[in-house]
């Protein structure tokens, strides 16, 4: 069934309109539905795009940051952060590293965290598990140094070296 407004796209939004006692069926495509104000169901994608465009910073800083960030392109797919903001999606997996600063802020506001705690792929002889363990040890090392617990720090440093050597990191 085609959209009753544009007569072009496939109608995928079907609703019943109540008009003083009678019920009319409407069949619209998503664009016309949004355009007609029936798009009350705001998708998370829409809200997310809003997030991307309003990082909550002061206007002047935002402009300066925007200028810096927009020049930066992902080396793999060529996306700029401006592209990410427009489309609401990243271009490729490498974009996460390319726009690390902005992504970190974004993840904190969406998920209140920017650190993965869940399942790790077993791939490549468990390299990701090893990297995670190494990162954990590095954190502990930094803490030990800050607390001037140098014996602990030395022990941790040796563990990290052994782990890296074993994993070929």
């Amino acid at each position: 069934m085609v959209c009753e407004i544009c007569q072009k796209n496939q109608a995928t939004v079907h609703m019943a309109e109540f008009n003083g006692g009678s019920i009319t069926e409407r069949h619209l495509c998503t664009q016309c539905a949004k355009g007609s104000g029936f798009g009350d169901a705001i998708s998370f994608q829409d809200i997310f795009q809003g997030f991307l465009n309003h990082t909550g910073e002061a206007p002047l800083t935002k402009q300066r940051d925007e200028a810096k960030v927009d020049v930066c392109r992902c080396p793999e797919c060529g996306f700029t952060y401006d592209d990410v903001r427009t489309i609401g999606k990243l271009g490729c997996p490498s974009c996460y590293k390319a726009f690390e600063t902005e992504i970190n802020k974004l993840l904190k506001s969406i998920h209140t965290s920017n650190l993965h705690k869940g399942k790790i792929p077993v791939a490549k002889g468990g390299i990701f598990s090893i990297k995670k363990e190494r990162n954990e040890l590095k954190k502990q090392l930094a803490q030990a140094v800050a607390m001037e617990e140098f014996e602990d720090a030395a022990r941790l440093r040796d563990s990290i070296r052994a782990l890296e050597k074993e994993a070929g990191l």
């Binding site: 998370f44 271009g91 996460y96 965290s113 650190l115 993965h116």
Partner: protein, 340 residues
């Protein structure tokens, strides 16, 4: 082979079904919206090969981009594919098991979306199925994964575990007592969201809501599921309380509403999709409360609800039907199902 929605468990409680979805992407390939055609072909080949199961459990491939609009819509109405895939023009598809409990979407918003559904409140089974397929795929393909950000997805709202766990719940009493808005507000404080029956961007119909986790990063998969279970338990309790309230304060009106719905459904000569959903929702609760002293349909109420949707209806009758004609065919289908 009984499909999951033909299992009468879907009609027995407030929780209709449980679902786990995992979003995954392959390393060294752009995300779907940026993929070039040659890359897409090689990507799909790799994933299909990786997903191959032993003969007796083989997944069937449906090339969604080659389907008619009605066929696509019907798949969406059965919760196999999303609205995004219905609207896609590039090559995309879904690998699906015979019982439709397990499906793998190919080239939707992410390269891979593993989905598992079970009837009733059984999320642990759905979770194991999804994880099993994830482990299997991972043996052959290399996932895009970062030790800090987890599984990398096209949209940062899915990054980390890439997991969306959800329950489909029937909440007619919370709706009838005007409590849904409060419930939605309350559960959002637990990081849980409520959407209409077809997920993001769709309206609630037949008092059916999908409740799912919002956060995918910073929690383990088990923590996400535990949190969702806690919330669904609270929502179920509230629905039962509102149901008891209605029974105490207006039992006769409730019974009348349910029987009138049955009367209309068994006799109407034309009926719109939204009307049908409302009356079928009343029938469902009528049977659950033991009110309706009538012959139960052979098929599940839930499945009848899905079949009254526009796409499924068109697919069933195999022709271009519009306006009044679709309302008549819908009414005729429902009369048939309730009387056999």
């Amino acid at each position: 082979m009984t499909k999951w929605f033909e299992n009468h468990e879907v009609d027995n409680s407030i929780v209709i079904s449980s679902r786990v979805r995992l979003a995954r992407n392959l390393k060294n390939y752009a995300f779907p919206h940026k993929l070039k055609k040659e890359e897409l072909d090689s990507l799909l080949e790799k994933i299909e090969a990786a997903a191959a199961l032993p003969d007796d459990k083989e997944l069937r491939l449906i090339e969604v981009d080659l389907l008619t609009p009605e066929q696509k819509l019907s798949l969406m109405e059965r919760h196999m594919i999303s609205l995004l895939m219905v609207e896609k023009t590039e090559k995309c598809g879904v690998l699906v098991s015979d019982d439709e409990k397990l499906s793998v979407l190919l080239n939707e918003e992410d390269h891979i979306r593993i989905q598992s559904v079970t009837a009733g409140e059984c999320i642990e089974e759905a979770y194991s199925m999804a994880m099993e397929m994830d482990d299997r795929l991972e043996k052959t393909v290399e996932y895009a994964f970062d030790e800090n950000y987890g599984y990398l997805t096209a949209c940062p709202t899915n990054v980390g575990t890439g997991m969306r766990a959800s329950y489909m719940m029937h909440l007619p009493c919370l709706e009838a007592t005007g409590q849904m808005r409060n419930v939605i507000g309350a559960i959002s404080k637990f990081g849980v969201t409520a959407r209409g029956i077809y997920g993001e961007g769709t309206e609630p119909m037949g008092s059916i809501y999908q409740i799912s986790n919002q956060v995918t990063l910073g929690q383990t998969e088990e923590e996400i599921i535990q949190n969702l279970n806690r919330v669904s338990m609270l929502v179920t309790e509230q629905e039962k309380r509102m149901c008891q309230k209605l029974l105490n304060e207006s039992r006769n009106e409730l019974e009348d509403k349910i029987y009138r719905s049955y009367g209309i459904l068994t006799h109407a000569r034309q009926i719109s999709a939204s009307e049908a959903m409302t009356y079928l929702s009343n029938l469902r609760i009528g049977f659950m409360l033991g009110f309706l002293d009538v012959k139960k349909p052979k098929d599940t109420i839930y499945n009848i609800m899905m079949h009254t949707q526009p796409g499924s209806l068109k697919k069933r009758f195999g022709k271009e039907i519009d306006g009044n004609k679709s309302e008549q065919l819908r009414a005729s289908y429902i009369r048939q199902e309730l009387n056999r």
